[in-house]
């Protein structure tokens, strides 16, 4: 078996990537949904009961960050392209590190902490962009972002064209 034949993903590789793409698409929209729920939990904490800040905090670290992490995992496993993986990684950093830093580790200045909900808007925008990008991704793209090659070259060969 030649080196190029080893590199060439077979029909199973294509199906696997397609599955990863579908899972990534689902997770990208799930992330958007969890962010909306997170905003609602903040509203409940303000308007109903302050103890819901704890729920907001816990859901942020589990539900929202979990969805972001799984989306990153699906993008990486499915080799969905550098930009897609980069955006998924950026979202995870924003959710798990920047949001936590803004509230917990930047001191007592309310001005910094007040950027937490503003950054949440930015996260929502990025998550929406990720979901739209996931929907628009072609299945048979080259993982490095190079346009797909013609069939017959060293490229992916769809099992069901």
């Amino acid at each position: 078996m030649t080196a190029s034949a080893k590199r060439r993903p077979g029909p199973d590789g294509f199906a696997g990537r397609r599955r990863s793409h579908t899972i990534f698409l689902g997770l990208a929209w799930l992330l958007v949904l969890t962010i909306i729920v997170q905003f609602y939990l903040a509203g409940v904490a303000v308007f109903v009961d302050r103890s819901y800040w704890e729920v907001h905090l816990a859901f942020g670290h589990t539900g929202v960050a979990g969805a972001a992490f799984l989306a990153l995992l699906a993008a990486a496993i499915g080799r969905l392209g550098r930009r897609t993986i980069g955006l998924a990684a950026l979202l995870l950093v924003q959710i798990e590190i920047v949001q936590t830093l803004l509230v917990a580790w930047v001191g007592e200045a309310a001005g910094w902490k007040a950027l937490h909900p503003v950054n949440a808007l930015l996260i929502f925008w990025l998550a929406l962009g990720q979901a739209r990008r996931a929907k628009a991704l072609p299945i048979d793209f080259h993982p490095t972002g190079i346009p797909k090659l013609e069939v017959g070259e060293d490229t992916l060969e769809p099992s069901n064209p």
Binding site: F47, A110, A114, H116, A120
Partner: protein
């Protein structure tokens, strides 16, 4: 007939200029509203993490911001921005009304009032769409490329 023929191109051009001015104004206000939503969220953050007096600032700034969706409808009509943008401008105004109503029910139905920040995301999303779409429409206008080229030539000379 001759005088009418002479006047028509001039008046048409004037009408085009006026329409374009309204469209530029629309784009400016759409971006201003988007920025306003971000500032409003920041003020809510200040009230939550800082002093509760900022809720008053948040409320007053919110009412001030309400003029923008109304102005967008009016300016959109004058600038003939097209049905998709006009439709969503009306939706933006409707969402703004809902936003105010959600606060009014906080005594009777606090769980419903908790949708206030969720509605804020919807406002942000819609405002972002309007700002980007109207900017893109303005850039696509016939003659926009020629005007840009002309201004570049003037800048070079």
């Amino acid at each position: 007939v001759l005088s009418a023929a002479n006047e028509e191109p001039g008046s048409h051009e004037e009408a085009c200029i006026v329409t374009r001015i309204f469209r530029i104004l629309y784009v400016t206000l759409a971006w201003a509203f988007l920025l306003g939503v971000a500032v409003q969220v920041f003020l809510a953050g200040l009230a939550i993490f800082g002093r509760s007096i900022f809720w008053v600032t948040h409320r007053e700034f919110g009412y001030l911001l309400g003029w923008l969706p109304m102005s967008l409808i009016l300016i959109g009509l004058l600038g003939r921005v097209g049905r998709p943008i006009m439709g969503r401008s009306l939706l933006l105004f409707a969402l703004y009304i809902v936003h105010s109503l959600l606060i009014w029910v906080r005594g009777e139905a606090p769980a419903v009032a908790a949708l206030h920040p969720v509605n804020a995301i919807a406002l942000f999303w819609l405002a972002l769409w309007l700002a980007r779409r109207s900017t893109a429409a303005l850039r696509r206008e016939p003659g926009a490329a020629a005007r840009e080229l002309r201004s570049a030539e003037v800048a070079q000379t």
